[in-house]
């Protein structure tokens, strides 16, 4: 029996979003599934109908990763970044940037994995780049929501049928 978990996105600060998710697997397995290309290609596919034909991960500090998604109509969208901190199997800090730069600069993503009741609790924190104007935009909850929605628009649109 798998516990049904509802994902809740929390506004942690003016420029940070965070969500948590439990998995009924060991920390080692979750870490492997998050960092092994042929496994990532099986699950990080986003909206229905999309695939991830390209997934390259150079798992070391300073190493880069690159994901390319493909829509049903063949159009592609890419995202890449660099690993800043790695403490296998508990912590990954990486930067990421969509090719179209929806987010107005790199975002920093911190992923932690902790054992919890025989399973694993994943905590993901996304921090948006701060510029003077962006800081002002993100000072309110609305700015936060808008910036976050915008950051992910590429993903949404990619999932829409043309």
């Amino acid at each position: 029996m798998k516990e049904r978990t509802f994902l809740e996105i929390t506004r942690l600060s003016a420029v940070e979003l965070q969500w948590k998710r439990r998995f009924s697997a060991s920390v080692a397995s979750v870490f492997k599934a998050l960092t092994t290309p042929d496994l990532v290609q099986q699950w990080l596919t986003g909206p229905p109908g999309m695939t991830m034909p390209i997934c390259e991960i150079d798992l070391r500090v300073g190493g880069r990763f690159r994901y390319v998604w493909q829509r049903p109509d063949g159009k592609e969208m890419g995202m890449g970044g660099e690993f800043k901190e790695l403490s296998p199997p508990n912590r990954i800090v990486h930067t990421e940037l969509f090719d179209e730069d929806w987010t107005g600069g790199e975002t920093v993503v911190t992923t932690t994995l902790a054992e919890q009741d025989g399973g694993t609790l994943l905590t993901c924190t996304v921090r948006y780049s701060s510029r003077s104007a962006r800081d002002a935009a993100l000072r309110t909850g609305m700015g936060d929501g808008v910036a976050h929605s915008y950051a992910q628009l590429d993903t949404f649109l990619a999932g829409r049928q043309p």
Partner: protein, 111 residues
């Protein structure tokens, strides 16, 4: 109405315009009130306001001479809908990850 969203997202592709929206979320403001916190010229702010107005994100009063800007919540409410979509996509990713992990755990136990 994807055209409404397209226009809204295009207008919001600029950090200054997002900052203006955030400021207007606290209440209406005149152009002069918007110039100060952003350290930008009045014509620059006015250009940004025009883009936001054309996208339907703000409206400007025709009554007062200062023509204060107000937030229009229609398109923004739709964007909130997109945020919910994002949550759904994220959740779908994790449900697939559950399946990947089931296989990994089974392999681990069989070793």
């Amino acid at each position: 109405m994807p055209d409404v969203l397209d226009a809204a997202f295009a207008a919001l592709s600029n950090p200054t315009r997002r900052a203006i929206i955030a400021r207007l979320a606290d209440g209406y403001a005149t152009v002069n009130e918007l110039v100060e916190p952003f350290s930008l010229s009045q014509p620059t702010i006015s250009r940004h306001l025009k883009v936001l107005e054309n996208a339907g994100l703000i409206s400007r009063s025709r009554v007062a001479q200062s023509r204060p800007c107000h937030l229009e919540t229609g398109p923004l409410a739709q964007i909130d809908g997109w945020l919910e979509k994002y949550r759904e996509v994220l959740e779908a990713n994790y449900v697939r990850l559950d399946s990947v992990l089931d296989v990994l755990e089974a392999e681990r136990k069989n070793r």
